[in-house]
């Protein structure tokens, strides 16, 4: 008979995801003490300690100031999805390996699932919803025109990745597009259509 303490390093069940999301948040938390005024520590004896305590912060999301309540371990993805009704960024993988939660932080594409909300005070956060509205962005329009979506679950992340890539490389060639958008996964297989959509955006000059 064996006894196994679940989710400790060395156990088959342990992964970096758990580290980021729960039991291992202590390492990241050291840097966050200043933000999390109400933080307290406990559980020193058994494994990593948990820093907890809620704090209210203000985030700049899609050009608006938003007050949100977070713990040190709360990710940007969780805040967007549960407090701001911005569910375009998707929880596909916790570690950013799918690109499903891609947002732009000060213009740079990043995975919201790997960012802690408290670390983003003062930064410009842009989500896929900012590219929609009555006058959708050229990338959104090109995705629709080239049918670069099927189930659509990966699509918001891909739209953001393409937008960020073309912002940086407005004259991208097809070869550069094929080489530069490999951080996102689509299970339905929309890549061929996405390539065409991105080429169309370059041609349209937007």
């Amino acid at each position: 008979m064996t006894e196994s303490t679940i989710k400790g390093p060395g156990d088959p069940g342990f992964s970096r995801r758990d580290f980021l999301r729960g039991s291992g948040a202590v390492a990241a938390a050291t840097a966050l003490q200043t933000h999390a005024a109400a933080a307290n520590q406990e559980g020193q004896a058994a494994g990593p300690a948990i820093v907890r305590g809620e704090t209210t912060i203000t985030l700049q999301v899609n050009g608006e100031s938003k007050k949100v309540t977070v713990e040190p371990r709360t990710t940007l993805l969780e805040v967007l999805r549960t407090q701001l009704d911005l569910t375009g960024a998707k929880p596909i993988s916790h570690d950013g390996s799918s690109g499903g939660s891609t947002v732009m932080i000060d213009g740079k594409p990043m995975s919201a699932s790997t960012l802690l909300a408290v670390a983003l005070v003062g930064k410009k956060i842009q989500t896929v919803e900012s590219l929609g509205g009555p006058k959708p962005d050229a990338v959104v329009k090109a995705f629709v025109e080239h049918d670069a979506l099927q189930c659509g679950f990966c699509t918001p992340g891909f739209v953001m990745a393409v937008r960020a890539f073309l912002d940086k490389h407005p004259q991208a060639t097809e070869a550069e597009i094929r080489g530069g958008l490999n951080g996102n996964i689509c299970r339905c297989g929309t890549y061929a259509n996405i390539i065409q959509a991105a080429i169309a955006v370059v041609k349209g000059g937007k």
């Binding site: 008979m1 064996t2 948040a25 948990i50 569910t87 699509t155 297989g189 929309t190």
Partner: protein, 743 residues
């Protein structure tokens, strides 16, 4: 008897059918507004997370939840029935307990405080290794069949006769191939994991479920919760991937409802990424040993195979029946099947169940025959088709495949690119190669009911208990209504994704497009007849002279004898006109049909130094009867090929032999194709009048079948060496070269 009161317009007379249009929910999805099950956020909702068993085979001795319950934010701890102390767990990831909490972090922290004692049991996961499976007592006979062209005489012992016949046939064969081929298991890996967000209103349950089966899962919830099906509504507006694994609420969906009932609060329970890969369905592995004999023309005279396959802990796998050998039906064959039981999650029907594996382990043998003969693989495939009168294949007609192969060869420039196996010119360490494979599928229409509402102001909406898996079902329905009523497709409102809507079948087996096209063409034709009667009366003309087109109803060619669509609908009266449309699966109908054929060709580049395979070009020619939504149909074929490229080159479930752990269950390790991996893909829908006139046939499954075999054959053509098991990882390519002394 076929019901001939409904029909489709001729190709040259269509206004919407088969046109290339944007999907009606495109902007909503691309800008993140579309709400999936995972996105549903209900007031006071709890978030639940589940703990998967870390061991592949064990007994649960005890579970202590007391510490977990005290974690701040934790509201409820639920221990699953199948994990109660004393229960045996058969695969890693099987859920033990779920914790509902105020936040994700609290739920995960709660899980880390569960104290569980396990008693370890013996593990077996090596499904590729038949000898090991037999030694471990994990292999059982799965049946088989033998058939000979000649019948035994009255005095012959049947067994002896067959043995002698096979010996004779092999002796008379000009070419005999002894081969081994295989394909590892892959997972469904839906990007939106399985799960539900549920809420009770009194004794009624509202369940947002990520499902391919809105009309059927209400009953399944009701059974699990011991309530009436009428008291359950299942909703699914959008689903983040469903390839055959999402037909049920699953025990965790029912648990979400139980936790919600216990806490009096809405609950969301979605599987974690690794749980999705470990427990929510996989495509069985299959490995085959075959000896085949062919005549001087390369026509197969005799096939003798044994394959072993594993559907995981619950058994099953790829059957011999109907798919071994794939499409081709040699006159003499013997085939047997062995099922291997492992400590890995159970299989679930994966897009075109069994066909991709069967194609990958048998069309490779046919290509090896071509290689042995020094012949062009395409010629050998062609010679084994037979003719429409003397068929050597099942499924679609030989003449369809012939036409498709010709078309594909042109698009691929096959003849110019072809070289005998292993005889191409190398560029440094890189060699190129061509391969092909063919496939078939049924795709007949499923049950479908709809309620079509035409309002007096001219607006049109339909209610149908089907779902859109991302294939464009909404758009296809709108196009059928647009075609029939003569109005633009963009203004039509398509309501689907609820079990309270008229019942439609689950979306599996390429049956949805046929079903919804049937119900909607019928309803709209009937509705138009009713409106036509009113218009005829008003204009004083005979109803049978009227046509509906360009948003007008009137006598053809007489603009003064017509009304606008709006004016016509005004005649309906105060209340909307409601018409139902129904179709029952299996009813002969001029609107839909089944059985398609497809051909795929791959051109690859292989680096002999690194073992890396790259897709240069891929051509798919596909028959699908009458095309409804062309752009979306093409997208589905592109998608199927890309999924096929993933399982041909990258994708595999890797399990640790000692512990049974599923080692690559996170996306950083579970390798799928990325955007830069796909090469140039050319999609051609084969739709001559002979096929179009058959009516609508489903497309989801067929194009995903051939990529594995086509790519494997292309690699074999490049190297002159068969890499026997898919995926063709660099390691396997190098091993095969080394074994053949070609490294």
């Amino acid at each position: 008897m076929a019901d001939n009161s409904y029909s489709w317009p001729k190709a040259e007379e269509t206004s919407a059918l088969g046109k290339r249009v944007n999907r009606i929910d495109g902007v909503e999805k691309a800008s993140g507004r579309a709400k999936y099950t995972y996105d549903i956020q209900l007031p006071k909702q709890l978030i639940a997370r589940a703990l998967g068993c870390p061991h592949a085979h064990c007994k649960i001795v005890s579970i202590d939840t007391s510490v977990a319950e005290k974690v701040p934010g934790v509201v409820h701890v639920h221990v699953f029935e199948k994990a109660k102390p004393g229960s045996e767990i058969q695969w890693q990831g099987e859920l033990i307990a779920a914790i509902a909490a105020e936040s994700d972090g609290a739920a995960v922290e709660g899980l880390s405080k569960l104290k569980i004692q396990y008693e370890m049991l013996e593990v077996f996961v090596d499904d590729a290794n038949l000898a090991a499976a037999q030694a471990a007592n994990r292999a059982t006979k799965g049946g088989g069949k033998e058939q000979t062209e000649r019948e035994p005489g009255d005095d012959d012992d049947e067994k002896e006769f067959v043995t002698a016949e096979f010996a004779r046939l092999f002796k008379e064969s000009k070419y005999v191939i002894d081969g081994f081929y295989g394909i590892d298991a892959i997972t469904h890996c839906c990007l939106e994991p399985h799960g539900a967000t549920v809420a009770w209103n009194g004794d009624k349950l509202l369940a947002y479920l990520s499902t391919q089966n809105v009309s059927g899962t209400d009953e399944q919830f009701a059974d699990g919760l011991k309530i009436a099906a009428d008291d359950v509504e299942v909703r699914c507006e959008h689903i983040g991937g469903g390839f055959g694994s999402k037909f049920a609420p699953d025990y965790w969906g029912v648990a979400a409802a139980e936790i919600s009932r216990a806490t009096g609060r809405p609950v969301k329970l979605m599987l974690d990424r690794d749980q999705e890969l470990k427990i929510a369905g996989n495509r069985p592995s299959a490995y085959l040993k075959v000896k085949l004999g062919a005549d001087a023309n390369g026509v197969i005279q005799v096939w003798d195979s044994e394959h072993w396959t594993s559907g995981g802990a619950t058994g099953g796998g790829v059957p011999h029946n109907g798919v071994i050998p794939y499409v081709f039906e040699p006159k003499n064959y013997r085939r047997s099947q062995i099922n291997i039981q492992t400590n890995l999650g159970p299989q679930r029907a994966w897009r075109a169940p069994n066909h991709p594996q069967a194609c990958a382990i048998t069309h490779t043998a046919i290509d090896d025959l071509a290689a042995r003969m020094g012949a062009d693989s395409m010629d050998i495939f062609l010679r084994n088709l037979g003719t429409d009168d003397a068929r050597r294949i099942g499924g679609a007609k030989p003449s369809v495949y012939r036409a498709e192969i010709e078309l594909a060869a042109k698009l691929m420039d096959w003849k110019a690119k072809w070289h005998p196996h292993g005889k191409g010119a190398a560029k440094g360490s890189v060699v190129d190669g061509l391969g092909l494979a063919i496939h078939t599928w049924g795709g007949g229409a499923n049950d479908s009911n709809c309620n079509l509402k035409i309002h007096p102001d001219g607006s049109v909406e339909t209610f149908c208990g089907t779902q859109d898996l991302g294939v464009g079902t909404r758009t296809a329905i709108a196009l059928v209504l647009s075609e029939t009523l003569g109005i633009p497709y963009t203004g039509i409102k398509v309501n689907l994704g609820s079990s309270k809507l008229p019942v439609s079948g689950p979306s599996g087996g390429s049956t949805t497009i046929g079903g919804v096209s049937e119900s909607h063409r019928r309803a709209a034709t009937d509705a138009l007849a009713k409106i036509g009667d009113l218009v005829a009366k008003k204009l004083g003309v005979a109803a049978d002279t009227l046509v509906a087109a360009n948003s007008r109803i009137g006598v053809k060619g007489q603009p003064d004898k017509s009304l606008s669509w709006k004016e016509a609908c005004n005649l309906i009266g105060m209340r909307p006109l409601e018409v139902t449309g129904s179709f029952k699966r299996g009813t002969p109908s001029p609107l839909s049909n089944s059985t398609v054929g497809g051909v795929q060709m791959a051109h690859v580049l292989v680096d002999k130094d690194t073992g890396v395979v790259k897709i240069n070009k891929f051509v798919a020619v596909q028959d699908m009867g009458l095309v409804v939504a062309r752009k979306q149909a093409e997208s589905q074929i592109y998608g199927a090929i890309i999924m096929g490229i993933a399982s041909a080159l990258f994708e595999q479930r890797i399990a640790d032999r000692a512990s049974g752990a599923f080692l690559n269950s996170e996306l950083r390790d579970y390798k799928l194709a990325r955007l830069g991996d796909i090469g140039d893909i050319v999609v051609e829908i084969y739709e001559p009048e002979s096929e179009r006139s058959r009516g609508v046939i489903g497309l989801g499954e067929p194009p995903v079948i051939s990529p594995g075999a086509a790519i494997s054959n292309a690699v074999a053509n490049a190297l002159g060496v068969r890499v026997p098991v898919l995926p063709l990882t660099p390691q396997r390519v190098l091993e095969a070269l080394q074994k053949a002394g070609r490294a």
